[in-house]
Amino acid sequence: MSEASRDYGRRRALGFAALFTGPALWWATVLLAPYALMFAISFYSKQFPFMIPDFQFGNYIKLFSENQYYTVLLRSLKVAFFVSCLAFALAYPLSYFLVFIVRRPRLRLFLYVATIIPLWVSYLLRAYTWKTILGTEGILNSFLILVGLTDEPVQLFLYNQFAMIVTMTYIYIPFMVMPLYASLEKIPRSLIEASKDCGVGNLKTFLRITLPLTVPGILVGFTFTFCLSTGDFIAPQLVGGPYSNMVANVVATQFGIANNWPLGSAFAMILLFIVLGIVTLSDKFERTGRLNVG
């Protein structure tokens, strides 16, 4: 190695150190340390009101053996699954409409941005508005009474899993639209035209060509919506009623009123593993999918 190149290497290393030492320390302190600590606490034991540093699996065993806890876990997965399916059923026609039916690029961009914008706009307000829509004194009920479909306000709309699923579907639809739109837009129009030129009908073309080519987008969309809705604790608490506790609600309770941080940490770790597991899996499938498509 020449003198000059060694000098260059040293200067580069110095530049890197100057640039990145601060941020590296910051990331280690405020992100790595807290996550590591929570992982450690999930093995602590609880002797009310203190938690004792320990290494035992009691918290995790509790989660999978006690009825009240694993019901919550299963419910979370079930609700997240329904939310993802419903979001998919609504987002696919919308994305298809945007990509294939709207022809003017400007109008399409405008409608796409209009679809995505609610995603960034006050989560809480959007969740809360469903309370005003579905409530006993709410808009839906007063509308039904106004047009004479019912005399008594219907109690069934709010404070149950139905309300929770509607609200969360509404909140997370944009996360489904984004990847679906991207994967539909990538499909070469020539493929679809070739299929039609060969006399294949619309539906068959859709099932044989369009749908399979959007599988990566569908996976990403499901991953987003599923992970986000399993981890939500605001919407369930707002519109879910008594039988709608989700994993995230239990974590919040354990870190709040119940004051059992080890158990809360164990539950948070489970949530973390579920989310990371799904993200990794879908990433892997998406990659193999991409290879198959070529």
Partner: protein, 292 residues
């Protein structure tokens, strides 16, 4: 995406509606209705919120009564709400500052240098966006608790800064990857040191991305609950105030302040999106290729 369909591509016997929509046939109409209803579903609650913020009935129900501005008046004379609003602005501004100070060097390091653990770092940094916000919230709560730091607006600010830096990192990194690096080499060839090159060449080229991602980070911080929920002490941010109010019941005052928040954040976001798109178009890869 180039447009494959041309006017003369349309099968005979169909006619064109000059709305940007395609030819008139049953499939397309069905899909159009489906698409429009989903868009309607997306905007229904927002419209409801805004309409009822101007409606005199204290209960959010139909039929509409007379129009009024009194809820806006109540909201702006509610001192607790105004303090919460001020807190939110402080936290948002502080969080954006953290995002920039930490996020830009991280993006530069990821773009310019090869180092061990780089792939891990890239995934690690976006964890707070991937994982449910509450996980970041409780783990930072446990951490501050262990360090003996008492909860205040400062802990909220650090929490938001940490959780949202990923937005700046990913946007700036994407921008750095796309812009024409040769102008930096030119600057170095002309004898400018790294700091000067950064200040006079790199920074002006990523400026709009910085503004755009700061706006996004601010809007998200302004609306953040899961992290704030665990890290706040006695002080409330605006979303926490709204949260504590709407859990008790519904007040039209929230509709009023909510309508303002939504209007302002839609404007900020549109500005952010268009600024960032504009920058890519002005000095993106296409321009660089043309120069060759």
């Amino acid at each position: 995406m180039t447009q494959v369909h041309r006017k003369d591509d349309r099968p005979e016997g169909t006619f064109h509606i000059p709305l940007g929509f395609a030819s008139w046939d049953v499939n397309r109409v069905t899909l159009g209705i489906a698409g429009a209803s989903v868009l309607g579903f997306l905007y229904l609650p927002i419209v409801v919120l805004m309409i009822f913020s101007f409606n005199s009935n204290p209960i959010t129900r139909l039929p509409l009564t007379e129009w009024t501005l009194k809820w806006y008046d109540t909201a702006f004379s509610n001192e607790v709400l105004l303090i919460a609003l001020a807190n939110s602005v402080i936290v948002g501004a502080g969080a954006v500052a953290i995002c920039l100070v930490i996020g830009v060097p991280t993006a530069l390091a990821l773009d310019r240098y090869e180092f061990p653990g780089k792939a891990v770092l890239r995934r690690f940094v976006i964890l707070p966006l991937t994982l449910p916000g509450l996980i970041t919230g409780v783990s930072m709560l446990a951490f501050f608790n262990m360090m003996g730091v008492s909860l205040s607006l400062a802990t909220v600010l650090i929490g938001h800064g940490t959780a949202l830096t990923a937005i700046v990192v990913t946007n700036v990194f994407a921008r750095l990857q796309r812009y024409d690096r040769r102008i930096e080499e030119a600057s170095a060839d002309l004898g400018a040191g790294p700091l000067r090159t950064f200040w006079y060449v790199t920074l002006p080229n990523i400026r709009s991305t910085l503004i755009g991602s700061s706006l996004i980070a601010f809007t998200l911080s302004f609306d953040e609950i899961p992290v704030t929920f665990f890290l706040t002490g006695r002080d409330n941010t605006l979303p926490m105030y709204i949260w504590s109010t709407v859990r008790r019941g519904i007040t039209p005052e929230i509709n009023a302040i909510g309508s303002i928040i939504i209007a302002v954040s839609i404007c900020l976001l549109l500005v952010a999106v268009f600024i960032m798109r504009g920058e890519d178009r002005r000095s993106g890869p296409r321009r660089a290729r043309q120069a060759k």
